[in-house]
Symmetry: C2
Subunit: 378 residues, 2 copies
Amino acid sequence: MVIKSMPETNQANGTNFEPADDRDNDRILSVQSHVAYGYVGGKAAVFPLQCMGYDVDVVNTVNFSNHTGYGRFGGTKTSAEELTAIFKMMDEVGLLSPGRLLTGYIPNAAALGVVKELAQKLKTRNPHLIYLMDTVLGDSGTLYVSQDVIPMYKEMLSLATIITPNWFEVETLTGVPILSLSALRNALSILHERVQHVVISSIPLQPWLSDVIPETMQPAASTDDQQAYLLCISSSRTIGSSSHSTVHSRLVPLIPGYFSGVGDLFSALTLGHFNPSLRPSEGKLHSATQTPLSLAVAAALHKTYSILEFTNTFAAQLPPGDRETTDDECDAAEPTRKLKRMRGRELRLVQGQHILREEWREGQGKDLQFWDGFWDSF
Amino acid sequence: MVIKSMPETNQANGTNFEPADDRDNDRILSVQSHVAYGYVGGKAAVFPLQCMGYDVDVVNTVNFSNHTGYGRFGGTKTSAEELTAIFKMMDEVGLLSPGRLLTGYIPNAAALGVVKELAQKLKTRNPHLIYLMDTVLGDSGTLYVSQDVIPMYKEMLSLATIITPNWFEVETLTGVPILSLSALRNALSILHERVQHVVISSIPLQPWLSDVIPETMQPAASTDDQQAYLLCISSSRTIGSSSHSTVHSRLVPLIPGYFSGVGDLFSALTLGHFNPSLRPSEGKLHSATQTPLSLAVAAALHKTYSILEFTNTFAAQLPPGDRETTDDECDAAEPTRKLKRMRGRELRLVQGQHILREEWREGQGKDLQFWDGFWDSF
């Protein structure tokens, strides 16, 4: 195999940056939603990162009773003024110098403006800050946020080290409907104008995509023709270079049903596993085709998928009433039906914490595959 | 050794209560403070309980930047109306049936009133609810809360399964200054009129106390005459019985310096380790003198003390400026001095998570000792 584009490394983060305090290297500031019950937003992100050994500072953008999947929820959104006050006080006391920043659901443009200022300040203070911005806009054609948040996220792309949009968020941020390989290339190249590391967390394996992925990535022959798959893509590029990005991907079977917090967990694990100093040129990597991002995404994808399987196996053992598939008509007729189904599908992070704590090594058959020729004739 | 009063068991909790959903048995609702940076309140309680395998529902009574030990902090208190709205929605959706309840810092009487209603509702719904009420009032002679909170906590004692006051909180709740064994007996008997399980988390080993504890509890001979000790007491009694409580205790060396969140960690671990079904009459206990409470407290004390030692060892390795002892005068002259000291003494829960995850077995030399004759001639 000829490697067309060598893996790029994060040169800014790979240098011998010495923070004021070593402890800050393993400190992540997480800014996202909080729910009392269940696992989305910070509840899906913080515990896994703590299990991995990170001190996590936690700022809640909302304080809700439960996630929206239950159909009803209550609580309050943290106002832009309240967020400003928290960050200002942390700064004045001397507690605002994390090595990594993770941001997720931000309910409105005013709050997002505060997060933008925060990211700018942290990046100015520490040029080696690793900022994973989860551009939480919506999923499968539905926006979760108000329209005025979209241009702000576009502006903020250049602040991020890594972004982790799903396919709908890629379309929303780039304006490019992803319906062909050339559209996918186009969208990725638009995002890479501003961001070094782009992860497209999941794209359904529709026929056009199935037709263009390398043969080695194709799903194994299955007796179940109905099995659906999702493709996860990682793409790294050196900002300012004229070369294309290095693209990797991996296919995972779709687990049917509505699970909440999956994207939040995946993004947290991607940030937690990202190690910019893993450069193949230094012989630290098993395979010269891997990048720091492809390794982080492989670990995050494996663990997220394992937690989903673990949760799904549990849900399948529940009494029949607790494991019905989605059916709005039946839900309307029997109000507790949806509740039971949602409860049964809360991520089993606590019970599956052994998964979160696994040491990750490349070369165990779970690595992403280098997409040779992705940019050919672009 | 003659056992004067046999260990009491929690009969209500020891029966074969079958909740509507097995999962709720391992679900704890935690209602206490939240700080973005560092480990107090919920940040000191939730992660340890998750490590132990509990699903924890988290309702924040305040959202602050950091703990008060830094001298400055910012953020908001959750209003009584906001708390009511969260609990009401959780209830309406069908997510309010935890097997255990843990409450800590509640900033004012209005919010405490909401927590009281919550506890009443949960207890009515599930008579086997295990409620650990940490009566957070103050420490070492200083109140953290407004005066009008005190009578409310007194009223709420009868709702609790376990309370975990420090000596100052015992004095505040009972009006009895603990300056002699008879005063200690008096205070405990006042609390036991309302509460089955009382833990006095720490009493300094002053001469009067040193004179009355059994010889087997005395500290080992030390070359350091200045070594100070704290006594931890557990006391269980069957409500409505005329017999005295069963008292156990253990002495631990005082680790000098100001650490925050220690009581919050200890209370959470006590609740997490409490297993009312461990009855010596059923041969499940190693020693007939132990109670479900004394075992839980032994585990919580051991783990809390181990985390403190772990944190202290870390703090001692920091540069000199980060490990100064408390000195308000020097702090005033150099503002970052206090910050460094406080940061250096944040509990190392994440780094010491192996301690939190230890399987606990009685009879490893860390058990509390039965205080034979505690109630003699009372």
